[in-house]
């Protein structure tokens, strides 16, 4: 196939995902309402109880809303990654996955296009949310917005690949509810999204270690630092290999299934 065919295929897959996203009007709304509720209601309520001391990368005292904003951005990416895996399960049950897999282009490339498209959709949602955070006095400068683009992309790609991998392990649409309980909630709550890990360490050492081994903590920290024009190398060095391994596992899981041997 010519290289132009690869570009056309990517464009086709991206446009399809984009059109489906905007056709499902409640999807964008729920993607934004969920973190906004956390930011406006939860964070305001807990603002007094959960004061955050001066810590890196912040140069001064910050509001709780400012602290949880990167975690809520990652929440959008997490939900979108899982949502895309839900749509893969749906596509497989409805048969439309076969249309994708019947393409003459290499299967790993097609799935890579799916992941990229999902990452781009996630990026759009995160920036809409970041714009809305200005309404509650979360102060991030314009350079931070730009600096965060690669970080958001890496995180979206990782969580999309995780979703893709899960979509192949989930055999039926009904089983997807389990993903909420066993993947999304533990990943989110056992991370630095809502509270700094040193606070968790003071409260419970074993929970602190669970948070330390949770890749989502590294997603949150990578984004937190990048929104303030800094690169959190520790998080990046953990996330890059995990992203590559997860993506490779996800791509491999879509190889045609062989019949049992006799």
């Amino acid at each position: 196939m010519q290289s132009k065919a690869y570009l056309i295929a990517f464009q086709g897959i991206f446009l399809r995902e984009l059109r489906r996203f905007f056709a499902q009007k409640t999807r964008l709304l729920s993607a934004l309402v969920r973190p906004m509720l956390w930011l406006v209601v939860f964070a305001t309520g807990f603002r007094a109880a959960l004061g955050v001391a001066i810590m890196e990368p912040y140069g001064t005292y910050i509001t709780y809303q400012t602290y949880i904003t990167p975690g809520l951005c990652c929440m959008i990416l997490l939900f979108n990654g899982m949502q895309s895996s839900l749509s893969m399960v749906y596509d497989r049950e409805m048969g439309s996955m076969k249309v994708l897999l019947m393409s003459p282009l290499p299967r790993p490339y097609l799935l890579f296009c799916k992941l990229m498209s999902n990452a781009m959709l996630s990026l759009i949602q995160v920036y809409i949310f970041l714009l809305l955070t200005n309404l509650v006095d979360v102060d991030i400068d314009i350079i931070g917005y730009l600096y965060a683009v690669p970080a958001i992309f890496i995180i979206a790609f990782f969580l999309g690949a995780l979703g893709l991998l899960l979509s192949n392990l989930i055999k039926q649409l009904e089983n997807f509810a389990g993903v909420m309980n066993f993947v999304i909630f533990p990943m989110f709550f056992l991370s630095s999204a809502l509270y700094p890990l040193w606070k968790m360490k003071e409260a419970s050492l074993w929970l602190y270690w669970l948070c330390q081994y949770n890749p989502f903590s590294y997603c949150v920290e990578l984004l937190r630092w990048s929104l303030y024009n800094q690169t959190h190398l520790n998080s990046l060095s953990v996330l890059m290999p995990i992203t590559i391994i997860t993506a490779l596992l996800a791509l491999a899981s879509f190889a045609p299934k062989a019949g049992a041997k006799r």
């Binding site: 196939m1 010519q2 132009k4 065919a5 690869y6 056309i8 295929a9 464009q11 086709g12 897959i13 446009l15 399809r16 059109r19 489906r20 056709a23 499902q24 409805m94 048969g95 439309s96 076969k98 249309v99 994708l100 897999l101 019947m102 393409s103 003459p104 282009l105 290499p106 097609l110 045609p256 299934k257 062989a258 019949g259 049992a260 041997k261 006799r262």
Partner: protein, 243 residues
Amino acid sequence: MINTSGLSFYYGKTCVLANLDLAFHAGFNVLLGPNGAGKSTFIALLTHLKKPSSGYIEYDGLRIDQAQANIMARFGVVFQEPTLDMDLTVEQNLCYHGALHGLSKREVLRRSEPLLEGLGLTGRLKDKIRQLNGGHRKRLEIVRALVHKPSILLLDEASVGLDNQSRAQIINYIRELAITSSLCVIWTTHLLDEIKLDDHLVVLTKGVLVASGTVSDLISKTQVSNVSDLYISLTSQGALNAI
């Protein structure tokens, strides 16, 4: 055009297809068998959605692992279950499929125009799939399967759920196309009234090849008078035991 040799497929210990040696050439080929005969699994193996437990498939002498892109580009497939994207329009569905085959929007629209006309879908490009009835959706799936000019067209129970008029229109269109475009059509069905005397017929039952040949040849060999009797004769318990 397509040859299979010793093709078998097992789900666990259950044999779905057993040691199939088959050949399909340009023209209208009917893969006949009751539900559960293994027709859909056979289509999944042909299209590389599944890998065989043993045996292999050759496409003009090439195996899928030797020339995947080349072989996959030759297929147009209409699956048994609906595969159109309900949230998109007719045009968007066609363009998405075209893009997966490296075709630009302009090229897809140019190619699909006569196909849409031939299947009675002119003027429906901007309609959402949800606005189409079952018959029109199936026709659109056929248009989509043909838009990249495949040389092999696989239709897995494409007439299921359609009224008699739609069924007749679709099958006649495909038959004509097989002749005019030298297309290798494999039409899987369990409906005997879709078979004509000059079709190449392959009969499967419980994953076993029962018969293969031109319908008229098979009728004269088995000394019966019509397709219905032929099918009863080929799938009777005595005939199956003999296999």
